[in-house]
């Protein structure tokens, strides 16, 4: 099985490359016959592409979902921030140790209403990835998030978090500054809030690093996001002493949005455009925006104590799988 999204999509990406080249020729073509030929070629290749895509997406397994969730053209938090909110202003300080670019935070406006945005941020090229530490937040990232949660409470702003991380940073430095405490304290701060909190897993929901900012009243997953207690490769390494058996582990872990919904651990799935979010980021963002607005409206209408609501939501996790 393919090890990466690029490998899995190889044929399709080549086909799209070809279509791109022909389209470039097409623009420069003056001979009407040649033009018609090329145009037909494009149409037929695009047809073929759609058929392949349809085929690929008709039988997506947990491993393919994993690859899609990690796909590098997939929209990241700041892409959604740009298309869902206005007036976003990034706030950088953790007031403790340092700036962490694996988590971005700040207030923004959602349809006239201020919200506090917190999300993991991946990078698209090597410089960005290094700058973002591959979206693996250090303690200061979670402590910055705590600052934002508390600020949101002070100013009675709903909180929206975007979850997209392979894991929290596991390095020596992170350990030395208490990455475990930072993750736990971040969840704790979320459970203290009386304002509405919505989280949406938009890519990789990677274990502790993910749940650290996902203790929300409503937790959504994008259709092709994954959410897991351990990366499939790590699980395979432990179970079968073979990280290459990621695909089997992905299946065993049931890390897809569909499974999470079935287990009652997420509250809804946000549809993606055909072929997954990156093929139409604007539509993807519109769907995300609608889902967030709908979720906030639902929480507004509950009129309940949102802190208790959040408590009860997580209190139930797994209840139906126990006996006594």
């Amino acid at each position: 099985m393919a090890k990466s999204w690029r490998e899995w999509m190889k044929n399709l990406l080549e086909l799209e490359d070809l279509v791109g080249q022909i389209k470039t020729q097409l623009v420069q073509e003056s001979d009407p016959i040649r033009y018609a030929e090329l145009d037909a070629k494009v149409k037929s290749f695009e047809d073929r592409r759609d058929k392949i895509l349809e085929l690929m997406f008709s039988r997506l397994g947990p491993w393919e979902e994993t690859l899609l969730a990690r796909a590098d053209p997939r929209p990241y938090t700041l892409d959604y921030v740009q298309n869902v909110f206005s007036d976003f202003l990034e706030i950088e300080g953790d007031r403790r140790f340092g700036a962490d670019h694996a988590i971005v935070c700040g207030p923004a406006i959602l349809e006239g209403r201020p919200v506090m945005v917190v999300g993991h941020q991946k990078g698209r090229n090597i410089q960005e990835r290094t700058y973002r530490n591959f979206a693996m937040a250090k303690p200061e990232g979670y402590r910055k998030a705590v600052r934002m949660f508390q600020m949101a409470e002070r100013f009675q702003m709903p909180v929206v978090t975007f979850v997209d991380t392979p894991a929290a940073d596991p390095g020596v430095e992170s350990e030395s500054r208490g990455i475990s405490e930072a993750i736990a304290a971040s969840m704790l701060a979320m459970f203290e809030l009386t304002v509405p909190v919505v989280s949406i897993v938009i890519g990789e929901g990677g274990s502790g690093g993910a749940i650290g900012i996902a203790a929300a009243n409503i937790v959504l997953m994008q259709e092709h996001a994954v959410y897991s207690v351990i990366p499939p490769e790590g699980c395979a390494a432990i179970l079968w002493r073979d990280p290459a058996k990621g695909p089997q582990a992905a299946a065993a872990l049931r890390l897809t949005s569909k499974s999470a919904l079935e287990f009652g651990l997420v509250d809804g799935i946000v549809k993606e455009p055909f072929g997954s979010a990156y093929r139409d980021p604007i539509t993807a963002a519109t769907l995300v925006k609608e889902a967030i607005i709908e979720s906030l409206a639902k929480l507004d209408s509950i009129g309940l104590n949102l802190k208790s609501h959040r408590y009860e939501r997580f209190r139930r996790a797994g209840s139906s799988y126990m006996k006594s």
Binding site: A184, G208, G212, A215, V229, A252, F263, G318
Partner: protein, 279 residues
């Protein structure tokens, strides 16, 4: 030399030897137990079963178990989980990795949770999460301090996302204790790792640890690979974690009871006082 006994075994009879896991020296089994399974040569604190922990920490005979029958299932039909889980049950006589209940400590009533590493590495699945949560909730209901002994490799992989959610669930329960002014003390014993460390374990009001206990987020191999920064020699030991400000005291096993007792005496005062006022 006499017979050798398994160090983890609860039945260690006189005249039998055990081997220290720290210095590898031979120890008289009865002296070893009398010394609370701490090596008299090197001070190595050996892992305890939940029974030993409770017996050696709380007032004699005061422990009353709660939710003893609470048992889990195999919700993901995860490869090999059912047989592994059954084997752990047979080996330990526990239904899952955590035992909870009410106990007394120097006559103060406390709500208690104890993880036992011998049950699937003390890992936290649905049942462990539920039991810890209930122990914390009992503290709120009964207005008494909560003491949790941690010993866990982290969240239980075999229950997938359900295990991850236990991190949030137990954290929520800690938040409830804070709201209720209920003191919550956690004790890191060897080892306290990953998903357990990154949830209820690390946000206690006071955190104690046993000497040399392994305490960390990632396995040492992973975290050393992950960065250029060199790990210090005492990386992820309780003593190192203390220096990093993430815990409050490293306490020898023989002093644990007294330390906990002093803490719940001072921190639980207003709770008792308020209760007295209420009636």
């Amino acid at each position: 030399m006499g017979r050798w006994a398994d160090l983890a075994s609860p039945q260690i009879s006189a005249g039998v030897f055990v081997q220290c896991q720290g210095c590898k020296k031979a120890l008289f089994a009865d002296e070893f137990r009398a010394n609370l399974k701490v090596c008299s040569y090197c001070g190595h604190h050996h892992r305890l079963t939940w029974r030993e922990r409770i017996e050696w920490t709380f007032d004699e005979g005061s422990f009353v178990e709660s939710d003893a029958d609470l048992a889990g299932s195999d919700p993901l039909s995860f490869p090999d989980y059912t047989p592994k889980h059954s084997a752990a049950q047979s080996k330990t006589g526990m239904t899952d990795s955590v035992v909870t209940g009410m106990a007394k400590l120097s006559t103060h009533v406390v709500s208690v949770a104890v993880s036992d590493f011998h049950f699937m590495g003390g890992s936290m699945g649905t049942v462990a999460g539920e039991k810890v949560t209930r122990a914390l909730e009992r503290g709120c209901e009964d207005r008494c301090p909560v003491i949790v002994f941690c010993a866990s490799g982290g969240a239980r992989m075999q229950e997938g996302l359900l295990s991850l959610m236990q991190m949030a669930k137990t954290t929520a329960a800690v938040e409830r204790c804070r709201d209720h002014g209920v003191p919550y003390i956690s004790v890191f014993t060897d080892p306290t790792m990953a998903g357990v460390l990154a949830s209820y374990a690390s946000i206690a009001d006071v955190i104690l640890a046993e000497p040399k206990a392994l305490v960390g987020f990632a396995g040492a191999r992973v975290s050393k690979q992950a960065q250029v920064t060199k790990a210090p020699d005492d990386f992820q030991t309780a003593e190192w974690v203390l220096k990093q400000g993430m815990l409050d005291r490293v306490v020898e096993r023989r002093d644990m009871r007294a330390t906990l007792s002093t803490l719940i005496h001072t921190l639980g005062y207003s709770l008792r006082n308020k209760e007295a006022r209420i009636g």
